[in-house]
């Protein structure tokens, strides 16, 4: 089944479905696109009707609580509606049933206030332990910052093995295009495939710190039992300790703009040995890619690099057009950008401006700052021809 790929034209699929609907819902369940698609381990199963199989203690407790709630609600349902439907069947005028004339009973009213009160307090008590456990993010083995951005996730390994590693995780482009085309090929990980999954070791307490660069997003992975909003300007945290090696999938859960459905989360849980290997490899990669701040760059190189930096950090507010929006100042035609004195703009980036409306970007590398300034100085209607070198940023930092 896995290799079987089936192309479905939209129209034929539609006809197929409408026909199937006419035949009845039971028939429909067994045909169509979902027939060609398989369960995704760690992600959704075909026509799944329950929570994901839990991989953490918290997810296990959530599932247990849900099962208990289902049973309790079902019992109340049967009791209450058993009485109601019995009454509906027996106490009919058509059966000649004469109306009784009882009403107002303080004893009964007190009873059906106290009993539900005890039941709901009991329900709350069952959940309390889990709430406390969920919120205890202390003593983590590994701390990772997850930053939601329109529309991708950035991961930075802040503390623990792999410290210093950081990368972005975005949805597979071909899947995004398939979505737009409306013509679908059965794909098990449709809308869940990313370029760089978040890699974590098994059996370790992983603390996820969430924040966001633009609007609110939410980091949610059902199998791990976590969902935490990622709020711009604020940090929040959650944690998980995965007990099984495997791939676990989630999706951004808070409406964050037009590509909301296209910023999945893929957590790859690996053994400790594999994790060490991955972290070491990743660090070497980063070291090789790190820039030497004394290097003299050509204008074209700076522009190419600057464009990436701009898209990743600046475009969210200043817009791709450089025109800003609302209270956000435009860069296109701005005096400080056009100024021949490079230090003015460098200082704005390093220190921020307008009480932090423009935040400080000193966390960016010297090369990145130099590149993005060069980019703004030579883009849109700004044609200054000026190139800013990383060494100037190094000097300005002193």
């Amino acid at each position: 089944m896995k290799t079987m790929k089936m192309t479905l034209e939209m129209t034929s699929a539609l006809r197929h479905r409408l026909g199937a609907a006419a035949l009845g819902l039971g028939v429909m369940l067994s045909c169509g696109l979902a027939h060609a698609v398989n369960n995704l381990p760690g992600g959704p199963a075909v026509n799944q009707i329950d929570l994901h199989p839990p991989v953490t203690k918290i997810a296990e407790q959530q599932q247990w609580l849900h099962n208990v709630m289902l049973v309790v609600c079902l019992l109340i349902f049967i009791a209450v509606f058993g009485v109601m439907f019995y009454s509906i069947l027996r106490h009919r005028k058509s059966l000649g049933h004469k109306p009784a004339n009882f009403h107002e009973s303080v004893a009964v009213e007190i009873a059906w206030t106290i009993v539900p009160f005890v039941i709901v307090i009991g329900m709350g008590a069952m959940a309390t332990r889990t709430v406390v456990a969920m919120k205890d993010t202390s003593n983590a083995d590994l701390t990772i910052k997850a930053t939601g951005q329109q529309w991708k996730w950035g991961y930075e390994y802040l503390k623990g093995e792999g410290e210093g590693v950081g990368f972005y995780s975005t949805l597979d482009v071909t899947q995004r295009q398939m979505s737009d085309s409306g013509k679908l090929v059965a794909t098990d990980n449709y809308l869940l495939k990313v370029d760089n999954p978040l890699v974590v070791p098994v059996d370790r307490k992983v603390r996820i710190i969430t924040t966001a660069g633009d609007v609110i997003h939410a980091f949610a992975v059902p199998s791990l039992g976590v969902q935490q909003d990622a709020i711009p300007g604020f940090v929040r945290d959650t944690w998980f300790r995965a007990e099984k090696v495997g791939d676990y999938y989630g999706q951004c859960a808070k409406l964050c703009g037009k590509e909301h459905a296209y910023m999945p989360i893929h957590v790859k849980v690996v053994s400790q040995a594999d994790y060490t290997k991955w972290a070491d490899g990743k660090k070497k990669e980063l070291l090789a890619a790190a820039d030497d701040p004394t290097k003299e760059w050509k204008l074209e190189e700076l522009l190419a690099r600057g464009e990436q930096v701009y898209k990743g950090n600046c475009a969210a507010c200043h817009q791709a057009s450089g025109k800003g929006a609302g209270p956000i100042k435009p860069l296109d035609g701005a005096a400080v950008v056009l100024d021949a004195d490079h230090t003015k703009q460098i200082m704005v980036l390093l220190n921020g401006q307008n009480n932090g409306a423009m935040p400080s970007w000193k966390a960016l590398s010297d090369t990145e700052i130099a590149a993005v300034i060069t980019y703004t100085k030579n883009n849109w209607s700004n044609k200054t021809g000026q190139a800013v070198q990383p060494s100037e940023v190094v000097a300005a930092r002193k």
Binding site: A21, M28, L29, L33, V37, L40, P44, A45, N47, Q48, I49, H52, Q62, L65, H66, F77, F81, M84, S87, I88, H91, R92, H97, P99, A100, F102, H103, E104, S105, V108, E109, T113, P116, G124, T130, V131, K135, S179, L184, Y190, V215, I216, P222, V226, Q227, D229, I231, P232, G233, F234, Q251, A253, K254, L255, C256, G257, K258, H260, A261, A357
Partner: protein, 539 residues
């Protein structure tokens, strides 16, 4: 009868100050019945507009991939569907019921402030026009979800401002309507109609009106702060200027949770009138129903943050809001037990109003159960912002509020129009709606449990079948409402059907059944003399 009809022998139409005809009758309307009718027709039009948006959404979600709308338009449609249904359909419809029924139920001649009543209604029309026309503005309609969360609102185009303005106007309309209802109920009851003899529909509306006055200004504050953040350089919610997006959520849900009860308490009132009428037996616990309604209203102010369990509250916050939320199940349970105790050993018949009322109890309770499940903070972490939530609130809003309004329509429309609806057609409408409603929304529980997030234009393929079923159900449900208008409401408006007797329901109680059908333009112009139960006019 003399107290019912002001000048016996005269036709009310040639009352000395006369009454305007043609468009003047409606534009300058001060008569509570005319205004009630306009409210009901307006809200039905909005219900159809919001319903069409829902059907476009369901068509898009029929299968994975984007076939009909792009993600931008999809988000606009989900937002506008929510705003239109909440502020344009459900809330005004209940105000329509209030306008028609409260003066009739308490023996008042009209609403206390007749001209303000006119303004409350006519403000809604430009507000709705502005809200709907925001689709035509550059960038399209607001696409933030009906909750209008910051800072996404700061990224929206001019339509956001149109939306904020429209909601301000609708809020002003609601506040005026509420003031009118409170003053009418407290000051204009006929002698002998003490508060604790008042019909429950008037009672629930009195409490609802207080809720509205308490929370509509809160919403107005939240959206005004959004507006100043957008245009006047403030940073209430803008993190770039040191603002707090979570503060918006707190303010919004401090309005938003009582709002949920604003949309359900009048429904409780309607059902509490219908069940005793068709069970031919007194309501089991009138007093406890009043107390239960009041407790729900009070509790509704201390549970708002259960909408925010994933925003990162401290552990004590989560525990408090979890327990407080679960407590709401207690007074709600009291209501359901009371209705069932009223049915017990009654002598029931099952005309359409009773069917919708029983349908309401049954399906609303299922929404109550999912509410309890969502109230558990650890489970909510799994289900927050998934289709489970969508299923939950449609079970309480569609099968709750809307079904109660259908029940109310079938129950009172003979009084409004003077003709009986067709029982067969009413039953078709009921069963069709009930079945298609569940086909639409029941599978969404499964989708939510499996983790499908809401407000998604496209979804992983494993979710295909349940989405397809939901879409088929949605179109069926939509069709049933068109049927309702074309085959039930329209004939009634044109006066087609058997003439309705003054009291079409054998055991119905209340002053509304003391006036002829259709209710004359003016009723109770001099206060009626009531019997000891305040349900009959004795002179």
């Amino acid at each position: 009868m003399s107290a019912v009809l002001d000048h016996p022998g005269h036709h009310t139409d040639d009352h000395d100050h006369g009454h305007p005809h043609g468009w003047r009758r409606w534009l300058f309307a001060t008569n509570h019945k005319d205004i009630g009718t306009m409210y009901l027709l307006f809200s039905f039009a909005m219900f159809i507009a919001g319903g069409i948006m829902a059907l476009v959404i369901r068509a898009e979600l029929f299968q994975p991939g984007l076939q009909f709308v792009n993600p931008e338009l999809f988000n606009q449609l989900t937002t506008m569907h929510g705003l239109i249904m909440v502020f344009g359909a459900i809330m005004p419809a209940f105000v329509g019921f209030a306008n028609w029924m409260i003066p009739l139920q308490i023996g008042a001649a009209d609403m206390a402030f007749a001209r303000m009543n006119n303004l409350s209604f006519w403000l809604l029309v430009p507000a709705a026009a502005m809200l709907l026309s925001s689709f035509l503005l550059p960038g399209g309609a607001p696409a933030t979800g009906w909750t209008l969360y910051a800072p996404l609102t700061l990224q929206m185009g001019p339509s956001m401002d149109a939306g904020i303005f429209a909601m301000h106007i609708m809020g002003a309309s609601s506040i005026m309507g509420s003031i009118n209802i409170i003053v009418t109920v407290l000051n204009m009851r006929a002698p002998g109609m003490t508060l604790m003899k008042m019909p429950l529909f008037s009672w629930t509306w009195l409490i609802t009106a207080f809720l509205l006055i308490a929370v509509m200004p809160v919403l107005a504050g939240a959206i005004t702060m959004t507006l100043t953040d957008r245009h006047f350089g403030t940073s209430f919610f803008n993190p770039a200027g040191g603002g707090d997006p979570v503060m918006y959520q707190h303010i919004f849900w401090f309005f938003g949770h009582p709002e949920v009860y604003i949309m359900i308490l009048p429904a409780f009132g309607i059902v509490s009138a219908i069940i005793p009428a068709f069970a031919r037996k007194r309501l089991f616990g009138y007093t406890s129903m009043v107390y239960a309604t009041s407790s729900i209203a009070v509790l509704s102010f201390i549970v708002w943050a259960h909408h925010m369990f994933t925003s990162g509250m401290p552990v004590t916050g989560q525990l408090f809001f979890m327990y407080a939320t679960m407590l709401i199940a207690v007074p709600t349970g009291v209501k359901i037990f009371n209705w069932i105790a009223t049915m017990w050993k009654g002598s029931m018949t099952f005309e359409t109003p009773m069917l919708f009322a029983i349908g309401f109890i049954f399906v609303f309770t299922m929404g109550g159960f999912t509410g309890l499940i969502l109230a558990m903070a650890p489970i909510d972490i799994q289900l927050h912002d998934t289709y489970y939530v969508v299923a939950h609130f449609h079970y309480v809003l569609v099968a709750g509020s809307l079904y109660a309004m259908f029940a109310g329509y079938y129950y009172w429309s003979p009084k409004w129009t003077g003709v009986m609806y067709s029982e067969t057609r009413g039953k078709i409408h009921f069963w069709g709606s009930l079945i298609f409603f569940n086909v639409t929304f029941f599978p969404m529980h499964f989708l939510g449990l499996a983790g499908m997030p809401r407000r998604y234009a496209d979804y992983p393929m494993q979710f295909t079948d349940f989405n397809a079923i939901a879409s088929v159900g949605a179109f069926g449900f939509g069709l049933m409402q068109v049927y309702f208008f074309a085959f039930v409401v329209w004939p009634a408006m044109r006066g087609q059907g058997a003439p309705a007797p003054q009291k079409p329901w054998e055991a119905a109680e209340g002053l509304e059944w003391e006036v002829p059908s259709p209710a004359p333009w003016h009723t109770f112009e001099t206060p009626p003399k009531l019997d000891v139960t305040a349900t009959r006019v004795i002179g």
